[in-house]
Symmetry: C2
């Protein structure tokens, strides 16, 4: 079983050793042994780090990510919670698509002021067609989306 030195993990993932230590501290990854002082990781950590990176992309906090992927890398959460997370990601994908389309539109549309371009306004407003949820919508709440 070949183990990876923290330095190698850093090199292969592009994540600094300091960040890896921080992740371990936070319970996101774990080293299986030491070689001298040096942490050694199972190769699986690479997969796990990809998962973490994706989670971060999706705007989840490290704490949420830790909760999502339990000890063996498999989510511990009940099915419905997982599906909720997936739904949240779906909404975000829609938002991102709208932004991407908006940027591309703007790159190509010659209108003098985009605020007056109907296609522009339509793009921005798209994906926002549900009522603005008010009230304490703290952490994880979608703002007026």
């Amino acid at each position: 079983m070949k183990l990876l030195d923290i330095g190698e993990v850093a090199a292969r993932t592009g994540i600094k050793a300091s960040a890896l230590r921080y992740y371990e501290e936070a319970g996101l990854i774990s080293s299986v042994s030491r070689h001298g002082l040096r942490r050694q990781f199972l190769p699986d950590v690479l997969l796990r780090l990809r998962l973490i990176s994706m989670g971060k992309s999706a705007g989840f906090s490290l704490t949420e990510i830790a909760a999502m992927f339990g000890s063996d890398g498999a989510p511990d959460l009940p099915r419905d919670v997982l599906h909720q997370k997936a739904d949240r990601i779906d909404r975000q994908i829609r938002e991102l698509s709208a932004l991407r389309d908006t940027l591309r539109h703007v790159a190509d549309c010659p209108a003098p002021s985009h605020m007056e371009c109907p296609s522009f306004r339509r793009l921005v407003t798209l994906s926002g067609r549900h009522a603005a949820r008010r009230e304490k919508t703290r952490r994880g709440g979608r703002e007026f989306g």
Copy 2:
């Protein structure tokens, strides 16, 4: 021309007044006048705030967002830069889709350890099929994705 009081903007968007003031400070939005002390905004600010919210979703910093959407809400950047941003978003969408699929898979797959489930591993590894870029890949760099 009906103007919006900051309180109304806050109510309609779900963004706290303090955050709106912060955004104004940062040059992301601007108030057009005061009623007494109170900031008044053009209705367009709502659209602009949607744009900002989307940009945040996409992981752009406020500074990047400010650069993206110039004074009138229209991006100031050269076409190719805009397309680059759009490409970055596209990659992120792919990552998010992979995460979403992974979550859904895990919610439904009965394998005891997902680390050993080939579909799981495939899903995680998907969207990661280009070489890990090393070196100072600070801010905006995609990690091993």
